[in-house]
């Protein structure tokens, strides 16, 4: 399972990994922007608001039938992004809460988001439905 250092300098590599893995799994090209965005925002939140220092992030991308499933694991302090409230930002001034913009983008880009706190840390699962079309 691919591991990445919790370092903002890794973001472009992580986005490349998402693109390559999703394409290899047969994800339709029109879904790639949403996937890159959701993973980048989730990883950014883990680095900036979770670890706030050194750490490691595991990123697993798999196909489940026609759905694409992204699993992110980290050992940062507990944070449940599915519990945070975000509304549609009409006035940007209203969106100064940490990670609020990013969470909103994740919710708009993916169909399902679930969170689990395990003994090992945080586990975030994001699902995008009906985007895997290629022959595997």
């Amino acid at each position: 399972m691919p591991h990445f250092k919790a370092d903002l300098g890794q973001l472009s590599r992580i986005r490349e990994f998402v693109t390559e893995t999703a394409a290899a799994l047969g994800v339709v090209p029109t879904a790639l922007d949403d996937l890159r965005l959701a993973v980048d925002e989730a990883v950014t939140n883990i680095i900036v608001h979770g670890y706030r220092g050194a750490g490691e992030i595991t990123l697993d991308i798999t196909a489940d039938g026609n759905d694409l499933v992204v699993e992110l694991r980290d050992e940062a302090p507990a944070f449940d992004p599915t519990a945070a409230t975000t509304g549609k930002p009409r006035q940007p001034e209203a969106h100064t809460s940490p990670g609020g913009f990013g969470l909103y983008l994740i919710r708009q880009s993916m169909d399902e988001i679930s969170y689990r706190r395990t003994s090992a840390g945080n586990e975030l699962t994001m699902r995008k439905r009906d985007v895997v079309k290629g022959v595997r």
């Binding site: 925002e41 950014t44 009409r90 006035q91 940007p92 913009f101």
Partner: protein, 122 residues
């Protein structure tokens, strides 16, 4: 340090003090500060109006939008909640334009696909 974002600055000829920031690369949490710093330097250097040329930006996330928001506030602190009269955005990719729209930034920052038009709108 990152070389994921390059920023070129040019001063436009004309009555108004307009500078164009040409961005090439990714605008994410890793490069957000680079853009804010370069914009601050340009504004401190006398620029009163900015055009952000995003035609070379291959990724825009929420961190990039935060930088753009900070720049609009720096250009016109007195009208931070209104449509920005001093900043225009040029030629974002469809994905970047979608982020603008999803976060509601299109309601206060104009997007143009032509530099002359963007400058004329300032």
């Amino acid at each position: 340090m990152s070389d994921n974002l390059q920023i070129g600055v040019s001063r436009e000829e004309g009555d108004k003090n307009v500078s164009v920031l040409r961005l090439t690369g990714s605008l994410d949490a890793n490069t957000q500060n680079q853009l804010e710093d370069k914009a601050k330097e340009t504004i401190d250097g006398g620029a009163e109006y900015l055009v952000l040329d995003m035609s070379g930006v291959d990724y825009l996330g929420s961190a990039g939008m935060r930088a753009i928001h900070a720049i609009t506030n720096q250009l016109s602190p007195e009208e931070s909640s209104m449509r920005s009269a001093r900043l225009k955005v040029l030629s974002p990719s469809p994905a970047a334009a979608k982020v603008f729209k999803t976060l509601g930034f299109d309601s206060f920052i104009d997007i143009h696909d032509n530099l002359d038009e963007a400058i004329a709108a300032l």
